[in-house]
Symmetry: C2
Amino acid sequence: MAITLYELAGKDGRRFSPHCWRVRLALAHKMLDAETVPVRFTDKDSIAFSGQTLVPVLRDGDTVVSDSWSIAEYLEDAYPERPSLFGGEAGQTLTRFVNMWTGGGLQLALFPCLAKDIHEHCDPADRDYFRHTREPRLGKTLEQATAERDRHAEHLERMLLPLRVLLRAQPFVAGEEPLYADHIVFGAFQWARCVSDFRFLNDQDSIRIWRDRMGALFGGLADREPHYET
Amino acid sequence: MAITLYELAGKDGRRFSPHCWRVRLALAHKMLDAETVPVRFTDKDSIAFSGQTLVPVLRDGDTVVSDSWSIAEYLEDAYPERPSLFGGEAGQTLTRFVNMWTGGGLQLALFPCLAKDIHEHCDPADRDYFRHTREPRLGKTLEQATAERDRHAEHLERMLLPLRVLLRAQPFVAGEEPLYADHIVFGAFQWARCVSDFRFLNDQDSIRIWRDRMGALFGGLADREPHYET
């Protein structure tokens, strides 16, 4: 039975959601084909069947799963004979740490740097919604956040330091080969380069080199998405 | 053959080094007894045999290992029949992420909040050394760092958020039971409470509740060390 992934789409269909990228890469890691259905921020009728309003949503036959972490756990359980996303039980719980750090640390630090650019890449019908929901979270306008980017970039630098040191010592977050932990962290960098020309990694940065490695995985799945050269 | 752990000791022999605590807990986790030898910042003759000047150093028969991460890997390899520190290969590489985050994120954020209090708890003979090596790292005096603690605490809060969210969902960093990942992170909190009354976790904080759980492990090994009630 076919798998369908409902994922956020912006202007001209561009996919930039970091959480949806985690799932795209998890599906490729499991060597599973999926049909993808674009969903806009303000047009969630197509995922009403999931009982909630957030993408990503995965439908696999009669099974419906939402939330990127739950989807990854579902795929690991449902397709145990395929390449593992976690590398075992301890790997799975420790990947939760990476998940929390990415969502509650890295992406929070990136958000004010990207907010205005995300707005530009929203479908025109979604822009007011995005502004009105995100500005209260930022505590300022999208334009103010961009104007203060240098200050936000300083905080981002402090967040990136442990990742940079780790990726000097090993090629992937998960060691010699990429696991779901890599897909989680990479989702944040794919989000950034899909919406913004904001350059915060120099060419020699171990994170930049890893990002190139990740973009090329699965036949260049992430590299093929339109993005800025940063 | 007996195991010896050379670890940092401060005023009145108080042990506060976060890296030494990682090893103490790793030894207890492996149910290994060790003799401990106190080492001061400025009196490293006793570890000259290790070919370098940093504690912790572990001597196990004819084997000498320095650096907390290398010691943990050594213990895992040398005592495979004892309780695992990592829970397997993927667990081990993902624990490196926790290791880097703790050293390059959490401890860096804590350091300016604690620096003056660490100085107070150094052996009197070590205080000048500590001041002269640490103030350049801080870019300010120990007293200035303390005066700016509120601003540093704000950054610390942002660092702690992912850990807080994780520990609401599971009792230990590594899941249902503690692994070396927990010992790494706990080392930073033990460091803080062994030198400072600086209170940055409220009673209901999931991190605080986990810290209590960790302090009580191995018959209260960490709780027994003199510390402030924070």
